[in-house]
Symmetry: D3
Subunit: 237 residues, 6 copies
């Protein structure tokens, strides 16, 4: 896995995350104010949108903006990312600011949603730092933990982490796990693909995943320990 | 829980399932042929759509047909139901027939998606029987197991099965588990609601859920053991 | 015809109406305030939406929310129901409240729109009572009359009331009549189905329909004379 | 009322109809073949679409193509026009051709739907003549009667034909009647506008309307008796 | 070319413009206020929408409102018209009024967008006069020049003005030029149709076009010099 | 300007083009067959779609897939790119293959459409080479010339090439020119931004633009002269 911070100039946080051939661009844009239903609450908001470039997949996939509607898979992943990242942030400390996380898949080869979550955390952390520097936080430490995600699969009866697309597509079970750097769980989604799985297989997958997430958390921490590359982004709304 | 078979006259299977105040109408309609991408494969297909009546919720919810688009939650649950039910059926035995599962929530009080899956299995079983009686199955036994689902939550630190809406909305963790009557897992979705949860809480929730699903499987079996109420549906496409 | 009040727990009025095999669930939900164009007028509003469950028809019909647009027939019937029910209510007495009537067809066998109007009146009456009990009416008696509707058809040259689908679909003329319990007309819609009809046929159809509506009005009055089944709905917005 | 045939050059029939200030352009375009569900039946099809220019109304109305959806009123009127015109044509004689009737309101001042029907009949008759001349009819006489429509209203207690918008908007009852030149009825739609009406008012409105339609039928016949203005349209698909 | 002012009764300006067989109805409707993003600026706004009647083309074209979305060509031309007309008007002098220009093609035979611009200018001038008469302008002379547009094509190697559809469709280069009566350019759009063109061809096309626009400007001036036909429109919002 | 070929692994051509801070990813995907209206003609097709990542702009822009419709600007630019690239390719030599050009703006700072065209040509050339290597061309040399594009603006009265966003937004005239390496023109679009411009300004802008395009053509040729970076893409549909 490789994490490149400051990939774009305009957003407050912009991270290119690479897992094998999978590449996802995660941007965190700061917007003043919060959605209408939250206005006046003193609380901030974090939202996420996931999408894939048509050219990201092995055979070109049609553009959702042209089809005029977002597919179920896109919807589902966008909701998962938003929910996962909201678990690490204290909305009161954030104050009435919205952080929009855009996760755009540049190239897909399995594990795009977990890569997106892992990268989005880093972008979010940079956006929070930027907000702090701009004196716009209600409290200086809104992040209570870090968030990373990994996929686990069972192929030919063996549990494996982060399968590339070719193996993923013949996995018998597919699980996505989102966890914190404290080792607690945020979200677990396990699906038998045309098969069912036993309780013990599940336990083993969780073991593997928590292990994997711990390593990712360390890499996120290292990436964030480095100084921000280039000048700090300036012209955010 | 109460299961009423033969609730509607036209579909090959039609089940009203009631869990506390939650009431979901699950209909299984048989359609000749399969979607285009599957034609000629000799395999059948099972698909599902979930929806809520506007009047099903405590305060009226806007109609998705009027808004002109399906929300993310609806999309997500429809996909979950279809995926779950496809786990119990042998598509080759089904032959090139499609079974459409419509799960319409008449009244909502928590646990609508798990009630929908549990009821949809019974409707699916009736539709399969109907197809068999009509001589339209490639193989007489397409169902390899039964499918039931339950929700588990943690409220005030205690693990609880099938919370009504009021408690559900203040649950710290919310998990939906889909399992077979053999005790294997089909789908696990666990979400920390603004909180994270430990591995041991997760294990305990799975224990509770598998237990609950076993009881539901028994109730499904009993319901299906009774003769079909009224005349068998006749005029299916 | 059978009228079941209090079918759902949440809406202020909820009626299941059954005409032969046709079953329509009519819910009346109270919302504070009125649409923007009416705000500040001191007048209330009544609106209606009609829809059919996919499983309600002989062969499954596609879901309009999935298609992303409401069909012409649905639009037309929703408008008819709203217009018809607005004829019996004094908007000034209602005060700035909106009553949303949702008519969802559970099972269709001809005459769904007239069943919907007939049931919606009862749900509306219950919602008005509920509003009165909550002290939210500007005037205690907003309903000036009751509204019922019936369909009349000509089959094989004979005028007949309320045809089931099979006969309805080969009717030469099809008419829907909405009338009050005072015997006055609210709406008449008569259509030659690939045929035209004479003035005298029309007169005869109106005679039959007014007669039929008078009987329905009596059944509505009887249903409303009974005490509200179960506890009064409480948690309306 | 004024009828101008051959208003546009391309469609097989094109009629500008003027009723007071109301002006509707009715075009009948011939298309080879019929909708898929009718293919192979040997029968033709007639369909209609009604629309209003944004500039046709007293205050500009938003464009439905820009809103991205057709309103209920537009849907309803399009369906009424199609249904009405299908009553006069023998689909077997038409052969597998489709005639699309486009009724575009250039200027609105009440009675646009009835003007549209009345004009559409003349355009349809011209299109049928054109099809006959092209040797594309299965039978030379597909039209069994002519179709005209008129609106009747009750204003200040008096029954009146074809009200302009200003009077129409304060009518107590509004009725649209579609009739043939044989004096039979095709469609009757009568609506109390915030009021109900008695059976005897209804009878009187029908009397007035049938009278009015008879006069319109005569004007249509006269218009069609004249030779086609200019060269016959040529390049139809 | 023929320009007919006052074609419709309701809009503040309404012009039918005819170029050969091409006929476009250009209406200028005045609306109080400006779009939200401009409110409080003291500036006015001019917007445009272009559309084609389905019956305007040689073979019927489907209605964009029915398709539920506006095509790329329509979008493009609407934007071109708005941009072009905004070049001649002083938004501060207009005050916080919006003028909506609706250009509806009644019959198409090439050059509809340039005819629309040329006609829209005349409608705009009438709307401005109307606003002045109503005392609603911040400054009495908001129009700084007139705007006309013409198309130029190269067919069989020869440069030609305003081609009818049949020739236009086999043009090698197609250019639309919008110019003022001072001979300056507002917009130039030149496209090689499956071919490229030399700099000298381009120069020659611009020469022809500027010449053509100068003649059109004179015709616009003559049309506007005549008194307004009939009574001035009154009931604008 | 910098051109990076082989940026993505799956598409037959994939180019990252950078002009100042503007970065556009241009992918050329090969699809067997052509759109239905072209099937059986023996001719190929080239189509293009342009889009912007929400995070590409100075302040985040809403996602068009979420809005459910493509904006006018996006539509316009997609059409321009497709038209421009179709000018350089011999559709008969291409055979019945479609090349889809996806131009996704990663970062925007003025001149995104011209950068997209310039990059798309290089991606197209790589896709054509790939098709040739796969033996799927009807004729080995389908490209008759190269295509590049540049924007020219007038700022403070001076003609300037390729303005960054900040200067572009205050340009008095804005022109986009698409030209071939033979010095001929493909498309010219010049717009006065709230101002008009003289013929001589226009001439000067074209001079600058043709000059600029010649330089870009040379850079494209140099980029394409290098060997393809990494392995050739393999798994195209």
């Amino acid at each position: 896995m490789r994490i490149t911070r400051g990939y774009q100039d305009w957003p407050a946080g912009s991270v290119l995350v690479e897992f094998g051939r999978t590449r996802v661009l995660c941007a965190a844009s700061v917007q003043e104010g919060v959605p209408r239903w939250r206005t006046g609450s003193g609380l901030g908001w974090v939202t996420a949108e996931y999408a894939m470039l048509p050219s990201a997949t092995n055979t070109r996939s049609p553009r959702e903006s042209v089809k005029g509607r977002i597919g179920g898979r896109t919807h589902e992943i966008s909701r998962l990312i938003g929910r996962s990242l909201r678990a690490c942030i204290d909305m009161a400390a954030l104050g009435e600011n919205t952080i929009a996380l855009d996760c755009d898949v540049i190239q897909a080869d399995g594990g795009t949603r977990t890569a997106a979550i892992t990268g989005a955390y880093v972008a979010l952390a940079d956006a929070v730092t930027w907000l702090g520097a701009a004196g716009r936080l209600s409290d200086p430490k809104p992040l209570s933990c870090s968030i990373a995600a990994i996929s686990v699969g069972v192929v030919d009866g063996r549990v494996r982490l982060d399968l590339p697309y070719e193996e993923d597509s013949r996995a018998e079970v597919d699980m996505n796990v989102v966890a914190t750097d404290h080792g607690t769980l945020v979200e677990v989604q396990g699906t038998g693909e045309g098969a069912t799985y036993t309780r013990s297989t599940m336990d083993k997958m969780i073991d593997f995943a928590l292990d994997g997430c711990a390593k990712l958390a360390q890499m996120q921490a290292e990436a964030l320990a480095a100084p921000y590359p280039g000048e700090l982004p300036g012209a955010k709304a």
